[in-house]
Symmetry: C2
Subunit: 451 residues, 2 copies
């Protein structure tokens, strides 16, 4: 059933069948569903119900569902099985990258036992070799399952190899061509494979134009290469240039989405990857650090104001525009840093030289700052505000927007230079700094203008 | 040359060859590069140089490069050609979706002339039919080029069809199976096609499990279906269920990245999609609207303070903590709205009922608010602040964090209900509203506590 929509009726119906232990009924109801849809239903079920469903379905489908389940649901589900059962029933049916992801989430003791119980030597060695890699590297993303052909073969040998590998490789995107030492030499596209004449040789039809990554390449590099070259799969080679795995676009799409989510959350001051469905205390914990930094900033602000309270006693009207000056610095700073962070993430900055960026940012900030200063000047003239105060506010606003924008440009670039995630410089950090900067400038200008 | 890195030397070298009109040299230097890498180099060249390079390369490569160029560079480049030249030299070699994207960027007059000059009837009708669709719909994303097989054929007919179509279809991911009325019936995977025995029929090996979209499905729906079901291509059907096109993952990856970028920019208060390389006035224009809203908020704040200036004269110490209370409201509100906006975008909210979300948010906010209030209380005790003011600050802080968090939760959900992009509720909007809310609450509580 393509384009399935989970309805309340459907789930109630399923739960009823499970309650009645109607194995045939459950099987029938779920027969046309994709694994990911069944996983979606199981995610909201009781462990007993989930287990019933999984036992009713054939093992191949059950494994597909297991891969698609939510992490915590899967952990709970696997708890009901011994490591040996997991090693024999589930792991051998999985793609090696999925198997490793799932095994890595289990406690170390269970992990070791599962590996010890893997009967198939190839499966075991694939998994053990993948366990080494950092999960954010190409090695951590790749699967060992792929179709490769020796450069000296002819096409019928190549087709024969596909036939043999077919059991393990779910989707065939490309055939990789290697030499006797297993070094990656090129690719054969599905098109040229299908169109090739029976007698032709691999060396006749393969293309040397192949984009690849190394096992230690970062997940971000993999994702930017695949999106730049519009690839659905990319081969991974080791330090000797030997083909050791391939990464498919679906895994990379997940990486891209996580990256974007991370930047977004950092900008909004959330320090862990959370979802609205997480528990209250996890949500609190993720949000507290930035609130504490904001608190510190607020206390610092209170000291700045304390230093200038003399001026405020003489010119209490200055208070009116404190929030305005502070907030506008924050806004302008966040805008600049966001543009830099995105430019760095998408690699669209062109050069990474800081100076031309600052001068451009200065012009943008001057333009917008001047407009804002003019508007607030007009407002102050209309409400017949004292001229010196009006000038102070407008001048402070212009300076704050310029300073905050330049700070918002420079900080992400500097962080990037020293290899710290520039996204850290967005949101609360820039806002808090610029609140301080804004008030400081405002009072300093006020002291000069209003004496 | 895979994994090509553009170096200054390389570009200087190329420019020198162009200056000397060394056609052979340019051809040789660029021979091993992918189109997207050449496009990247051309993007930073003078129009004359770009034209020289494009004229030197063979037409197929030139078309690929044209598709990959930056929009403005392409527009400038195409200006040098007549509509007839564009229609004969470039358009027929492109995938229909790329052709439509490029034609759509040209002035209407040029667009019509190009279409009038298209000689191949099929190319022309493909392009005309695609021009109808909204660019953010499945129809606007799809290409007409695909491999389809009639359900009554045998496999050799199917292979023959691929052979015929091969010229037009760049990447083969799947063969789509249709009936006599061209209605989508299922798919044949590349694996089963390669593994099928010569005598078998399409109806023997095709799978009915196919996920598809309608021409009017939104780009977001397409991208969430493809990422949910891990697809590299998805078929598009019309209202009668007839197969009319397919969308490939590379185009959808672009959509995903644009979506994420849009949300990010909205949160940072940037109202158009801009890059740091855009012109100063475009960057200014994109940033000004939110600055103006911030300005309005600041003016409103000055009125709020004006209403309470009596209290401030009696309790000038209240001023010290104005920025703190205002900023913390902004921070807490942005955190809540960011979590909602992401939950809505990723469809991970579970239910969309508002009430349980508010009560959960209340608990998170209470927890964090209480902690922050306690910390500021401790600080005020340490600096020997007057007790009533300390209580006012702590109590205001707790209330502001709670109110701002609930507002940050409710507003995106309400916007989503009335079909407005919830991301509009993030960043400057929430910050500005909460600055106001924060100060209002602070003064109200102060008036009550400090009399």
């Amino acid at each position: 059933m393509p384009n399935f929509q989970k309805t309340r009726e459907y789930v109630t119906n399923l739960k009823l069948l499970i309650e009645n232990s109607d194995r045939e009924g459950v099987r029938e109801l779920l027969a046309d569903l994709f694994a990911v849809d069944i996983a979606d239903i199981i995610d909201s079920m009781e462990p007993d119900e989930a287990r019933f469903v999984m036992e009713v379905l054939d093992n191949e489908k059950a494994v597909e569902i297991l891969v698609e389940m939510e992490e915590e649901v899967r952990e709970r589900f696997l708890n009901a099985y011994t490591p040996e059962e997991i090693a024999t029933r589930f792991v051998p049916q999985m793609d090696s990258d999925d198997a490793v992801d799932i095994i890595n989430q289990l406690p170390n003791r269970v992990k070791d036992e599962i590996i010890a119980h893997l009967k198939d030597v190839e499966v075991a060695s694939n998994i053990v070799s993948l366990l080494h890699y950092d999960e954010n590297s190409a090695g951590g993303l790749m699967a060992k399952e792929l179709i490769k052909a020796n450069i000296n073969w002819n096409i019928s040998q190549c087709i024969e190899e596909i036939r043999q590998q077919a059991e393990n490789v779910e989707n065939i995107h490309t055939v990789y061509v290697v030499d006797e030492q297993d070094r990656l030499k090129g690719i054969i596209s599905i098109k040229s494979l299908i169109l090739s004449k029976p007698g032709s040789r691999v060396s006749d039809i393969y293309s040397k134009e192949v984009v690849y990554v190394n096992t230690h390449s970062s997940a971000e590099d993999v994702s930017s290469l695949m999106s730049k070259y519009d690839l659905v799969a990319i081969p991974v080679v080791d330090a000797l240039g030997r083909l050791v795995g391939r990464i498919t676009i679906d895994d990379v799409v997940d990486v891209m989405q996580e990256e974007a989510q991370k930047d977004y959350q950092l900008m909004s001051g959330i320090s862990e990857s959370v979802e609205s469905t997480d528990k209250v205390w996890i949500l609190s914990r993720a949000r507290l650090p930035w609130l504490l930094i904001g608190l510190l900033g607020g206390i610092a602000n209170s000291r700045v104001i304390g230093n200038f309270d003399h001026d405020l006693v003489i010119h209490p009207e200055m208070i009116f525009f404190m929030p305005l000056v502070a907030a506008m610095g924050g806004n302008a700073g966040v805008q600049s840093s966001a543009i830099m962070v995105q430019g760095l993430a998408n690699d669209t900055l062109g050069t990474k030289d800081i100076l031309p960026k600052i001068s451009k940012e200065f012009m943008v900030a001057f333009l917008n700052g001047f407009l804002c200063a003019a508007i607030i000047m007009a407002y102050n003239v209309i409400i017949k505000q004292e001229m010196n105060l009006s000038l102070t506010v407008s001048f402070a606003l212009l300076s704050v927007i310029i300073f905050a924008s330049i700070l918002g440009t420079v900080v992400p670039l500097l962080l990037d230079k020293i290899k710290i995630d520039p996204a850290l410089a967005t949101g609360p950090f820039i806002t808090t700094t610029n609140d301080l900067l804004g008030l400081g400038l405002y009072f300093a200008i006020g002291r000069y203008m209003l004496v």
